[in-house]
Amino acid sequence: MDPTDAVFSTDHRVPSSHLLLDQLPSYQSLLYRRKSSGSARRRGSGRVRQPSVISGKWLEQKTVHSGEELRPVRELPKSMEDKRQEKEQRLQQGGAPIGWGLWRLNVHRSLKRLKEDGMDLLSSLQLWRADVHLIEGMFGTGILSYFSFLRFLVLLNFIMFLLMFVFVMLPVIITSHTSLNITYSSTDVRDCSVYPSSSRQGLVVFHQHITDLLSGTGFLEQTYLFYGYYRLEFIHSAFSYNLPLAYLLTTVSYLLLSLVWIVKRSASGFKRKLIQDEDRFQSFCNKIFAGWDFCITDENAARLKRSSLLYELKMDLEEERIKQKMANRTRCERFRIYMLRAAVNLFVVAVLISCFFCIYVATVFSQQKQDEEQSNFLLELMVEYLPSIVITLANFITPLIFNLIISFEDYSPAFEIRFTLMRCVFMRLASIGVLLFSLWSQITCGSSHCSCGYNHHRYPCWETHVGQEMYKLVIFDFLIIAAVTIFIEFPRKIIVNHCDCALAKWWGQQEFAIPQNVLEIVYGQTICWIGTFYCPLLPAINTVKYFLVFYLKKVSLMTNCRPATRPFRASSSHFFFLVVLLIGLALASVPVTVSIAEIPPSRACGPFVNYTSSWMVVPRVITQLPHSLSSVLMALASEACAVSLFVITCLGMFYVIALAGAHKRVIEQLRDQLAMEGRDKRFLIQKLCQAQQGVFARSPDRGCHGNRQDAGLYFVRETKA
């Protein structure tokens, strides 16, 4: 913008150069623009103070221009002295405000300061501020993004816990301590409502307490921890509190809250991603101009950063060459590679299916064995934890296999990493799905002897049982993370540091691989989302878990690990984390929705005893509402409403698409304009050269070269302005 403006205004004030400027290649487009915005600009140039030197005019034009937009003084790229002058000048120009104006200005200023102080206070309250700063200084922004993601999850879990606590737990706690009228959920007496107590009778051996604590059975089963404990239906005080409705709505709202929060957080990353995808040829500029993390304070980290940048640049250049090579492949080679890829993918599918089958078998086996009384304490624990162990093993082995086979497939290096990652994400999240499916197949017993709609004989309270499974998964996941840090990474560090043999050197220090770590916590979060319905205290457990994981990971990063050789960019990683989290959320909401809408709730426990499905609470409440309100709600839920909403959404989407297209065209035009201005510049320089050659015809050494430098200086002034 500015160069054209300057050229444009010089056009008015210096009539001698008029002819020259008329010949500019971009003059036509300027004329066009003048029609639309000329008046404002002319007013601006009227306020110029002392047009003595050309560069002075430049400066003037810039300041006046920015004054017009009323940009704060601090946003001017000038030294403090200049900014102070500028401020005073503005005050003079605007006329010193008196009375009302002064008062308003002061109030405005102090309000702004108050707001800034408030923000200061808020940011100082932020969790782990100093830790995050330290990590940033030592490892750069890539790893930092992992930790801020973890912090976000802690907060999210805490909010989910608060929701559950306030709307579900608190009413139950209050009623148990006061004498309010309570209606317990009860059903017609049938076999289905029998819920045998699972707490151990007689003398309890100590290790059984441990088993109970780790697997949520025994004394833990009948506590606030699990679904089965919430048996109230109505709490009557000044008004009647409908606990089943509250339970259901809280579940829906925590899922929705997570969705909205994640989408809001990922919006900025998504925008950037779109921009990046639009012209993907900017990767080199991004690496060079934004490559250095200026926040790095550690000498060691700086060295690492240098080597990783070098590595990355070399890889990218290599990749470019590989791409060129790929483009030159013959048809025969291409055919061979496609066949190879198909075979490898078949193999991957086979590996996945065998993993899923193992998980299924392990789950079914564990479920069947749980009924039998085990004699051995460890064996009992093993049986309880069998599905978790198999899932963890599968998730440990498959990434290794995937890493190994990807090299046969001959993709470009960047795509290799992404593709392996996608496979791992699929594996992680699908294994939870398989576990749930096998549980579901056990709970809903096909066709035979299902008088209650679910397998009442084995699971008198199946929701609590699912809650226990999720509880076990969360606990086991945490134990694994802690164990890997303490028993594998730490000894490895010691061995590598204090042992000179070749094997140890080859093994090297543990790499802090961000994608795997992120997958780990997303896996935990997905379990938490699924389990919160069945185990309302799970978000609290998860909050504590992530809180501890933060410190574990920090210690492990500081002492045991080195950053990965192939760095993970903060921008791409931020978006990637949230996308994986979103996939996790989508996956989590499927089983929760199915179990709310389809599977009949237990007859023996929980708030939904009287309903054929949990969702039935909502229609029943709606029919009890006043007629007008209920008909409005019914209308909202009708097909007509849904279709019209769909149509409106479609229209909105079309509008946004059209807008995006328009923006794209504007960008293209602006690019053209920039190119045009470049041509202008060269044209002017040529003209100047010719003119100077005419003047200094006798001294050939001061020719075009000198002019080029003048032009350069001209730009320096502009940049320093």
Partner: protein
Amino acid sequence: MGGKASHLPKESLSEYQELTFLTKQEINEAHKKFCQLQTRENGPMERVSMQIIMTLPELKSNPFRERICHVFSTSDRKDGSLSFEDFLDLLSAFSDSATLEIKSHYAFRIFDFDDDGTLDGEDLRKLVNCLTGETDDARLTSEEMRQLIGNILEESDIDKDGTVNLSEFQHVISRSPDFVSSFKIVL
């Protein structure tokens, strides 16, 4: 502006708050740091020389430290020494709340090693060497360097004059996702 006074007067504090992107806390912090640096200089000088500024842990491992000092210095002798206000300017440009325009402007000047107002091939070469390290084994080969600079110019040099000027640089930077998060120094 400093001397040995450990506290800034209130009115200059509020003025600095208005003229920079820093908060009260950060300005006080910066003042404390700067006073510490001053005491290492012989006698209470108004400016602190570049060598001493560069001992700050935030700049010590930064390959662009000399350039940063030169860009923010208002010294007449062009020696890169900073007064307290220059120091605040520096921190303001690198602060979290500074606008993209300010950041990209100063980044351009930092990367413009020969101060001629454009990033030409030589500037880019120096920039890449700063990033990857100066030692011989860390450097890209000349062939790779040529390819890299060619790529950069192809991506950013819109008017195809072989150099990157400020507006082209800002155009590129505005689409660079990592720039804002990486171009910051917090005391």
